[in-house]
């Protein structure tokens, strides 16, 4: 376990990084910078989702949209594990179960508000992530896949067998979220419009799952930890050689994934007011995995599209409801063979977007190639005299 904390042992640096001396084109300041464009696009989609209940707010539509958003959150969490860190987790739904059961038990048996259970859920998820990841993350990817599958089954069967989890019938009567005495169930009137508890809960889920979970996972993917995850995915040995403790980095991906999954479980328990072991079968792990794979591993827009597709397709194509799992299976095989990066690959960029305003021309690049290599400019500096 000592390696978990790594060695902080270091010798003073010999080198300092040289300052870049090749002139680079300016960053694109306009709206066509990919990052800015996608942020705007995301904001528009978010606002559209806010407006949706004003167009049609039947309980049915609100309910499937709420579920779809919870799927988005699950898929974003699994994307951290599979898409960023490249670890195949076939038992992801176990974390979902841990979250749902922890909050369900605390709220029904001890009478806590669901909101108050969240800190405990977080702790439980981190613990579950460490328990599952700890012994298994040293294994190779394919072993890991099956072990996580086994863990998923262990969690489901345990929930099925224990009395505290309500056995096969599960836990009923989970209340909706309430904050300091005020509950969604009370409803609210804003600007003369009445919002019932289901719509309020939809908005809450939209902000938590559709907003915070998506932005959080995407930001992590772009930061220091995200780079480390991707490096482990692409070449574990090389990552280790770059000073990245690959075990710790993989464990962190697992823990983040567990937290996302667990919080989604809290939302789901509150949404359905009940949890039972049948909601945590392997099927659901596979569905979330399909969302990630079909959409594009490691790609935020792709994963959102995938999750919406997986959760909404059966509702939109009622006639195919029976066939959906067969079709999903076929799609999964076809995707892996013909389009392994999914419908929206992680590095894809819409053709009209660019990061730098004037692209470096090919000629310019060739020139600098010659010039910089052979005639080396001033040595960048030496620390010691």
């Amino acid at each position: 376990m000592a390696s978990l904390f790594g060695s902080r042992d270091r010798i003073d640096d010999l080198l300092t990084a040289p300052a870049p001396f090749v002139k680079r084109p300016e960053q694109n300041k306009g709206l066509l910078h990919p990052q800015r464009f996608m942020n705007m696009f995301g904001l528009i989609v978010f606002i559209a989702a806010m407006v949706l209940p004003f167009i049609s707010a039947t309980p049915y539509i609100i309910s499937i949209l709420t579920s779809a958003l919870i799927y988005v959150m699950l898929a974003m969490g699994l994307n951290v594990v599979v898409g960023y860190a490249g670890l195949l987790d076939l038992g992801y739904v176990a974390f979902f179960a841990v979250g749902a059961y922890t909050s369900g038990i605390l709220s029904t048996r001890l009478g806590w508000s669901v909101f108050e259970t969240i800190p405990v859920v977080l702790l439980a998820c981190v613990a579950a992530g460490i328990i599952i990841g700890g012994p298994t993350l040293r294994l190779r990817t394919d072993y890991l896949a099956i072990v996580t599958l086994g863990f998923g089954e262990i969690v489901r069967l345990t929930a099925n067998n224990l009395a505290i989890t309500g056995g096969p019938s599960g836990i009923h009567g989970i209340r909706t979220f309430s904050f300091f005495g005020w509950s969604f169930a009370d409803g609210a009137t804003l600007f003369g419009i009445d919002f019932n508890s289901k719509v309020l809960f939809y908005y809450f889920v939209l902000i938590v799952a559709g907003g915070l979970a998506v932005i959080g996972a995407a930001r992590l993917g772009k930061g220091k930890l995200g780079r480390a995850w991707k490096s482990v995915r692409d070449d574990e040995d090389a990552a280790e050689a770059m000073g990245i403790n690959t075990y710790r980095v993989k464990l962190s991906a697992y823990i983040i994934g567990a937290i996302w999954g667990g919080l989604a479980g809290v939302l789901m328990g509150s949404h359905l007011t009940a949890v039972s072991p049948t909601s945590f079968e392997f099927l659901y792990s596979a569905l979330v995995l399909m969302a990630v794979v079909l959409g594009g591993m490691g790609s935020t827009p792709g994963v959102i599209i995938g999750a919406l597709f997986i959760s909404l397709a059966p509702e939109l194509l009622r006639d195919f409801a029976d066939w959906r799992y067969l079709i999903f299976g076929v799609l999964m095989v076809i995707t892996m063979i013909f389009r392994p990066k999914g419908v929206w690959p992680a590095n894809a960029m819409l053709p009209w977007l660019h990061r730098r305003s004037p692209m470096r021309s090919a000629a310019e690049r060739d020139e600098s190639d010659e010039a910089v290599v052979v005639t080396v400019p001033e040595p960048p500096e030496e620390r010691r005299p």
Partner: protein, 297 residues
Amino acid sequence: MTQLIWNGLFVGSFYALVAIGYSMVYGIIKLLNFAHGDVYMLGSFTGFLLLGSVSGLLGTWSLPVLLLVLLLSMLFTGTIGVIIEKVAYRPLRSSPRLAVLITAVGMSFVLEYGIRQIFGPSPRVFPVRLAGDPIFFLDARITLPQIVLMVIAAALMYFLQRYVMKSREGRAMRSIALDTQASLLMGVNVNKVISRTFFIGSALAGAAGVMAGAYYGSIDFLMGFIIGLKAFTAAVIGGIGNLYGAMLGGLVLGLLESFGTNWLGGQWRDVFAFACLIAFLSFKPTGLLGERVSERM
């Protein structure tokens, strides 16, 4: 006590039959054929269909008919195994491992829900139910069909062992397992050998499926999921990629389960088996018979 051992060995021989396919495929192309358990399920349903069509003969000729059905089902599942490899795994042979694993999960879905579309979601009752008067041996309750099925399983494993260890084709298999590139250079037709391996592994899983159907009497489209996981556990316990390991692992898992169930109660059976898997992978990932492979970069 004897009863527990006997039960363990009986269930273990099923695990062993399925585990062999897992282990052989892994040994040769380092792929966890996630759909392998579903091929076992496919075997059950094939047997179900075939037996249904000859149900008139069943009364008097039960055993020979069952054997014939077993053989035909093996041929069928073996062929399906070859097709799965050709369609789903071969195009991805040079892809990252993650891609192939995901394809295998997809393939498993295709088999499961394809069968569900044909036969419906509810369990089917097998036309034959092997039952017989028990005999008592050292306090253990043993039935004749149990003995017959174990003999069949043992015979299949014996032939397989002869084939892999003594024949030319078996030698080719072992050489690919050791070094695919070198085998290719030595003139081994790698694709053909891989197909053959899938055929054999799938045929054995199919055989186990028919036998399980005939013994337990009820089959459904998800029955392959748990056994697939168990077979993988067995393969890991024995040392994945090792033929004898798979057989031994199956029996050991059967025994562990039998004693574990007796100790903890039937509802914890699968939990106990998977806990064994995790324990083995954490503490002895090479299994009982697996060699220590130094992973070279």
